[in-house]
Point group: C2
DNA sequence: TACTCTATAGTTAGCTG
DNA sequence: ACAGCTAACTATAGAGT
């Protein structure tokens, strides 16, 4: 807390020079093709350094080529299409990070977001599911079976991860069941709470047992969900 | 799909050299203090470069100081405490990015995740709420009122953002209502779908209207939700 | 709209205190 | 667990295609 130094000059300046590191990867696993055009960046950095006392020139030069990233103030982007583009890029970034996190730390994670146009995206980390899938696949391969894993697991997870199947009546039913379950749980919790209303606070915080975390706070919004599910396993 | 180049050598190598860029910020706004110890990193990079033909020496030198990041394979971290630490760091990163995204693109976003120990974190982007809050605050200030904004908005958003109030019976009731609402919506959707069962596919995908996205897929898990809410406004 | 490219802004692994 | 540090790694703004 406190204002720890406000409006200090932000230009780190930081005469940076490097020889390119363009790393590119597709998944968190191997290191798919690694093409990169040598040269190009180095000299420019040096030029920039030499011009570093002339911000205008730097800016000019920067624009004359297809130059790199600039600093961005975290404030609502007023340009509509810019907002859309930034959303796409950053959404991809966040989803990737979420997937990494879920794998690295072996955790469950759910992300729900709405694009500037209202289109929802739901991303589910899958915890041990990924590994289990691998094992299952191998097992089935060995048994020379031709079982579709996705189908095998579909009953439990399919309708949360497959964007197309959302229109399947069975999946809707399953979701309905899940919702009812959530409801009964929260009602149970309500009951518990009612009984505990007169008990000291530090105890009452112990009575939430596995509620399903319903996310119904976007009541006033009316998006047009077309394909609103985004599996993150590929 | 396809294996697009598997097990290619991943060592980008990339003899990198730079002169430090240590940028640091606290929020997406100003640029709070910018102390950084000049020197130290520079020579080391050069030293590393000179030693680059001797990996062992590099590694040794790297360990002798408190050196930087190494590449990480995206695979479950086997070390328990390491998993915990990584979780903390990356969670912070994701939450920050989520907040930035919600502000930049003016969107709603929700993130729910469970730590390796099962502790849940819920993060709500607040879309225009943040700006609205500012306006409200100023308005109230001008009117010389002493209204607590949080309380003012609490009826609608409070129980989703305040970890302590989760034990309040009214909030539970509100959540119950929200859940019921979600349920009725999904049931409506089910109805719609039933009627459309015989209609071509490309049309049926248009019939999801503003369902509330219930997240009840963590049924078999039993975390101990103590303080499971994480507001992301500072 | 989506993809590519460059170079930089920003994130974070491994240590240390 | 938490905060700080350094440098390597990664995401991404802006512009082109």
């Amino acid at each position: 807390m406190m204002t720890k130094g406000e409006s200090t000059d932000c230009s780190a300046g930081s005469s940076t020079r490097r020889l390119m590191t363009t790393s590119k990867r597709v998944d968190g696993e191997g290191c798919p093709r690694q093409e990169r055009r040598e040269g190009g960046g180095v000299e420019f950095s040096l030029i920039l350094k030499d011009l570093s006392d002339s911000p205008a020139e730097v800016s000019q030069l920067r624009r004359s080529r297809n130059m790199g990233r600039v600093k961005l103030k975290i404030k609502r982007l007023e340009n509509t299409s810019g907002r859309q583009i930034t959303y796409s890029k950053r959404r991809a970034g966040i989803l990737k990070k979420a997937k990494e996190l879920s794998i690295l730390c072996d955790i469950d994670i759910v992300i729900l977001m709405f694009s500037p146009t209202g289109k929802p995206t739901l991303c589910l980390g899958e915890r041990r599911m990924l590994e289990s899938l691998e094992v299952l696949k191998k097992t089935f391969k060995k048994l020379d079976h031709d079982v579709d894993i996705q189908d095998f697991l579909g009953t439990r997870y399919g309708y949360w991860t497959d964007p197309d199947n959302i229109t399947n009546i069975d999946h809707i039913r399953a979701m309905e069941e899940s919702l009812k379950d959530s409801l009964s749980r929260i009602q149970m919790q309500k009951e518990n709470l009612s009984k505990q209303q007169l008990v000291p606070l530090e105890i009452t915080t112990q009575f939430h047992s596995g509620i399903h975390v319903p996310l119904g706070m976007f009541g006033e919004q009316q998006p047009q969900p077309n394909s609103w599910l985004h599996g993150n396993n590929g």
